[in-house]
């Protein structure tokens, strides 16, 4: 929810996402792509920027970049690397090798689960920096006594995915990041873990009055470490801009830092302190021009992507878009479709996948067992409650639903036995029964519950309701 009048103001958001690529080694050297452990152990002359060291491009990083590019519907093109020059102790050479004028991937788009398309301007390769720890002053950078630098992360391959300013609210921004993460994971390019920093989101926010065509002055917000923070930071920042403008002030173009605990952004620096990165073509590297064969080979090997999988799931099972989003995220879409192909009821399959299969081990279920389970339900052999218990054990043990049901003695109660139990329950609760007969609908649940309790959940809820209804008149 925003703290300003959304009918009057429109928020414009563009995201820059840095994803660490899941290679074995660094972008330009053969040191392992691993960090977080003992500091300065995965270092070589290139990582440390030693005099005389030279970069050589990691082919697998390019392969992953192409995979992501194609998955984002980008054009993969001839690209060159450039040096971005700035002094900072994390950056061993005091320049970062990135792509500037000619990035490897350009002009793509992402489809959100609700069908919106968000443009991708570019997705380019660059190297990560090392990490500084600030000692003293409570770990705050400005008050530290000194800092310690670990270069294990320096040189790790990153893909910077620059989205167009097509997003209009925090929820869409979150959906965009989720979708991007799903794509990165699906193509095996990155583990996409935002909290661990393997996917980092910088957020450009501006506001304008509805109907205006020009963009407002934007601020870039850094240090967003979760989807929740992303939504909060956008709402905070947009509200800040609206408040400034409504107070007759101007928004200054700034880079700002999101403070999760305070729930607000702080100014890091203004863009007037102009960055002059002195980009120029990296003379130690040659142009990268993937052949059409390479690109087509990668394209042919791409797995089915989340958007396509959602469409397929909706088409084949009748799932709602929201259900499809969740099921695809859990990776259960193929299972559901296969079960339906075996004759299972789509609606029951989807309901199970949505409500009863949050356990990550659910992906190991066989379509045959899932189909059998739904068949037992529709045939009246299992009540909904029993089915829930059976499916939980199926995930746990991998056993067939028939065996599990048998082991628990789950069998459909014959109608006579159920009728007897219903009558016993009515007899035991005369007051409630009277109120039920007088039309207190809330008591349906009470009686169904009592019957369930008496039958240890073996009864079919619908059958109980029918019996109760029959006895009322």
């Amino acid at each position: 929810m925003s703290d300003f009048d959304e009918s009057e103001w429109e928020t414009v958001i563009g995201l820059e996402v840095h994803a660490e690529l899941a290679t074995r080694t660094k972008l330009f050297s053969s040191a392992p792509n691993e960090f977080g452990g003992e500091p300065n152990t995965n270092i070589d002359p290139v990582t440390l920027g030693l005099p005389g060291a030279l970069p050589v491009l990691n082919e697998q990083a390019v392969e992953l970049a192409i995979r992501v590019g194609l998955a984002l519907h980008c054009t993969v093109q001839r690209s060159i690397f450039a040096r971005k020059n700035y002094f900072y102790p994390d950056q061993a050479k005091n320049y970062q090798i990135s792509q500037f004028d000619l990035p490897i991937n350009i002009d793509g788009w992402i489809e959100l689960p609700d069908g919106k398309r968000i443009g991708i301007e570019r997705a380019h390769l660059e190297e990560d920096t090392g990490k500084s720890t600030h000692i003293g002053g409570g770990g705050r950078i400005h008050e530290a006594d000194y800092s310690l630098v670990d270069y294990n992360r320096c040189g790790v391959p990153l893909l910077e995915i620059v989205g167009r300013p097509d997003l209009r609210n925090g929820d869409d921004a979150k959906a965009y990041v989720s979708e991007l993460r799903a794509i990165l994971v699906a193509v095996g390019a990155s583990d996409g873990k935002m909290e661990e920093g393997s996917m980092r989101v910088d957020c450009n926010v501006s506001v304008r009055r509805r109907g205006e065509t020009e963009f407002g002055t934007r601020c870039e917000v850094k240090n967003i470490n979760s989807l929740r923070s992303l939504g909060r930071a956008i709402n905070y920042e947009a509200a800040r801009h609206v408040a400034l403008i409504e107070a007759g002030e101007k928004v200054e173009q700034q880079t700002r830092h999101w403070d999760e605990s305070e729930g607000r952004t702080h100014k890091l620096r203004s863009k007037e302190e102009a960055d002059d990165y002195r980009y120029f073509p990296e003379p130690d590297l040659v142009e990268l021009d993937p052949s059409a064969e390479w690109i087509e080979r990668v394209r042919s090997e791409l797995p089915s992507l989340p958007a396509q999988r959602r469409h397929d799931l909706v088409d084949r099972t009748g799932a709602t878009p929201a259900q499809a989003g969740l099921i695809v995220e859990r990776g259960l879409d193929a299972l559901c479709i296969a079960a339906v192909d075996l004759g299972a009821d789509g609606s029951r399959v989807v309901t199970h996948a949505e409500h009863n299969l949050a356990d990550p081990r659910a992906v190991d279920l066989t379509p045959e067992n899932l189909a059998k389970l739904t068949e037992m339900e529709t045939g009246g052999d299992l009540s909904a409650t029993q089915a829930k218990q059976v499916i939980a054990e199926m995930v746990e043990t991998g056993a067939s639903p028939v065996d599990i049901a048998k082991a628990h003695g789950f069998e459909a109660m014959d109608t006579d036995a159920l009728a007897t139990t219903v009558d016993e329950v009515i007899a035991a609760n005369p007051d409630e029964w009277q109120r039920y007969c007088d039309g207190d609908g809330k008591l349906t649940g009470f009686f169904v519950g009592q019957v369930m309790k008496a039958t240890k959940g073996q009864a079919d809820g619908k059958a109980v309701s029918a019996l109760l209804n029959a006895r009322k008149s």
Binding site: S30, A31, P45, Y146, V149, V286
Partner: protein
């Protein structure tokens, strides 16, 4: 040799033929800004000297404005190569102890530096 001409500096240097940007002489302010970007400190007398010297070099370089470069692609590398890559295989690493022993200052397996103020500049 039939025709002799002096090396280098005898061409017409009329200002008209120079690019507009290159025609502007580098100022002390420019040099100060550049020194700041390059993290070099200049004493006032050095600033004076360097400004004069850089101006002379840039004045000389401005003769490039006389050439018709329309349609000419920049040449970034002497021998054009493409797609030079290596397999994604782990290679030899440096020993941390050796590296830190030759570092100006280290602590706990890391490079120690004075407090860092603010974000990358």
């Amino acid at each position: 040799m039939s025709k002799r001409r002096s090396v280098g500096r005898c061409r017409d240097r009329s200002a008209d033929s120079l690019g507009p940007e290159m025609n502007d002489r580098i100022s002390k302010d420019d040099v100060e800004k550049v020194a700041r970007l390059a993290l070099l400190h200049l004493e006032p007398s050095e600033l004076e000297t360097f400004t004069g010297q850089l101006a002379a070099i840039l004045d000389h370089a401005s003769d490039m404005g006389q050439l018709d470069l329309s349609g000419v692609e920049p040449m970034t590398q002497p021998v054009p190569l493409s797609n030079v890559m290596r397999a994604d295989e782990v290679g030899e690493l440096l020993d941390r102890g050796d590296v830190l022993a030759s570092a100006p200052c280290s602590e706990d397996g890391q490079f120690r530096v004075p407090p860092v103020l603010g974000e990358p500049s």
